[in-house]
Symmetry: C2
Subunit: 357 residues, 2 copies
């Protein structure tokens, strides 16, 4: 699927499947792999990078799992397309900013993808809706096995998979879940919970920005190191901690309902009203408004929009998504108008589907 086609639809992995999908937006597992006999990407000469790209590409083309995947050279893509892929969670910001001998391979449904010559020669990623980190691991592991048959990975029996960054050395696994924690934020308990997560050896960060900059009450929880434990242990440990955090969030929601029901209902429904009627809106505000409505959905206050609808609203609202969708470059002010139109349209479609509105 090319970028123009992608731009017309939401990422298929935002389908709302998986456990806890109202609160766990997505699960992701990423593997860092490097080719034996090549310098790491940041130390490689241009011709070595190109050679690593060729070898990687051939290996990926031989992988059954990626049979119908799209190969895109970063140097073939304009700035807007690259930003689109960043918003799509298919490449990193760093990958978008460098282009020579860099590429991305996007598999069916965008659930499986590979960056070539990012920090490591190969960054394999599987992303799924909801609480499905084990399933994501299973899928990316299969691709890893397929590639392993065709290239020699940089591997040490002492250290495991070698990586350009020490934190990835070992299993090369980074497993993460993107979790919506509005009640912990509202009740002021979030810092304590984040601190606890950190104490358990996991990393957590606001999805966009840090600390008070967190948009939409979204937090990404992931393993911090990839060494000295098995892949399955990493994934299971993440699952355990996220379940614990969801439990805290659930208790915080009960407290909100008990102590501040009318304030929460008001916050939820005002957010709904603004999304439904705004004529200009920034992406940051969409994140905040959809967070409130998502909470309302979880608390059974709102039934006229689905999780998928909210996910779609958030994704389609992103700057590059809007510009690709409407097929032209737009400044921030024009984007705010077009974003408001887009948000209203998604909400109207959702209301039509649910027979409300």
């Amino acid at each position: 699927m090319n970028i123009a086609d992608m731009a017309m639809s939401t990422s298929p992995w935002l389908c709302g499947e998986g456990d806890y999908a109202e609160s766990v937006i997505s699960s992701r597992v990423r593997l860092a792999r490097n080719l034996a006999g090549f310098p790491f990407a940041h130390r490689a000469k241009p011709e070595e990078l190109r050679e690593a790209l060729t070898v990687s590409r051939q290996a990926l083309e031989g992988a059954n799992t990626l049979k119908t995947a799209d190969f895109m050279l970063m140097s073939d893509l304009g700035d807007l397309d690259r930003q689109f892929l960043v918003e799509r969670h298919l490449i990193s910001q760093e990958h978008a900013e460098k282009s020579a001998a860099r590429a991305v391979v996007v598999g069916d449904n965008e659930m499986l993808s590979v960056m070539i010559n990012e920090e490591d020669h190969l960054r394999l990623q599987s992303i799924r809706s909801g609480f499905q980190v084990m399933e994501a691991w299973r899928i990316v592991n299969r691709l890893d096995d397929e590639i392993d048959k065709q290239v020699e990975y940089a591997f040490s029996y002492e250290w495991g998979y070698l990586s350009a960054c020490p934190t990835n050395t070992g299993t090369g696994v980074r497993a993460s879940m993107l979790v919506h924690l509005p009640a912990l934020v509202h009740t002021g308990q979030i810092d304590k919970v984040l601190h606890g997560i950190s104490q358990m050896g996991l990393a957590v960060r606001g999805f966009y920005g840090e600390g008070s900059e967190v948009m939409g009450n979204l937090f990404q929880i992931s393993n911090r190191t990839a060494l000295g434990t098995s892949e399955i242990d990493i994934v299971q440990s993440l699952e355990k901690v996220v379940k614990q955090v969801l439990d805290y969030e659930g208790k915080a929601r009960e407290i909100l309902l008990r102590d501040a029901r009318s304030q929460i209902e008001d916050k939820v429904w005002r957010a709904y009203g603004i999304l439904k009627y705004c004529r200009k809106v920034a992406h940051r505000e969409v994140m905040s408004l959809t967070s409130a409505v998502r909470l309302g959905l979880c608390l059974k206050m709102v039934d006229s929009i689905s999780v998928v609808g909210l996910n779609s609203m958030v994704f389609k609202s992103q700057p590059a998504h809007l510009q690709k969708r409407f097929g032209r470059q737009m400044g921030p002010s024009e984007r705010d108008v077009v974003r408001a139109d887009t948000v209203r349209k998604v909400l109207a479609e959702e209301e039509a589907k649910t027979g409300t509105g």
Copy 2:
């Protein structure tokens, strides 16, 4: 009509009739009159006040215009009922706070009313929807003539009608219009315009509070003195100035549409969305939101609510109105919830009437 009945409906004079009714909420003429042979109310002894009340009451009962009017002794009314009458524009805050030998007479449709023993023995008021100050004058003048046949007014051939306050001495006329000036406020021109009005010898004040405290961009423009000119001249002079101000407001709206159309549309529709979906809302915020929607109505951006609907929303949202309507005392927090329900209901009815929503 008793207070309980009144509480179930909006003031009939908020019917949206009259010229410029989208921008001129109401026109009012008030006459200050005192009885000859009685001390002014603030200097009268209790028995003199009671006697003045008796004489006034008899005179009013003899007036044909007030044949079916309701007479209410302030001492018979509880605090909530008095506050209701203040919100209804039928008595002043001062009249609500003192009770001995004070009364109000409310004529049909609440368009004609008389306070007895407020600052003056008699305060005759006619209030009308829209730009109808001459009509209001005509009506209150007829009542004045009727009363004049039955009592002797305190009158001096040198000074005219004598009044407890020098600014009312002469004709005793205070003519005013309540005008909505959102564009002059948004474009920052309001201070200049208010200064100009003041220079022309008229008084202007924010409808609730002063300066930056003005709620809902509503301003009351009135004559400042009642002496040395005829009643008709006072009314015509007010008409002229208000037309001028409306002209300035119209020009400011054109500027807004030219320079900031999308911002204004956004402001208007967000306000609409919040009114439609809020679950808690303060009266001050209703004033502000309805001001934005009223502007949208004037600019033909909104057609799903009428001027009458907006007026009704503002009136029903007032604290004593809510409490009378629901038949019980409520604290601010409960009122905010009930107010939100009321506002949503009015909007839903308006949408049903206009076939939108």
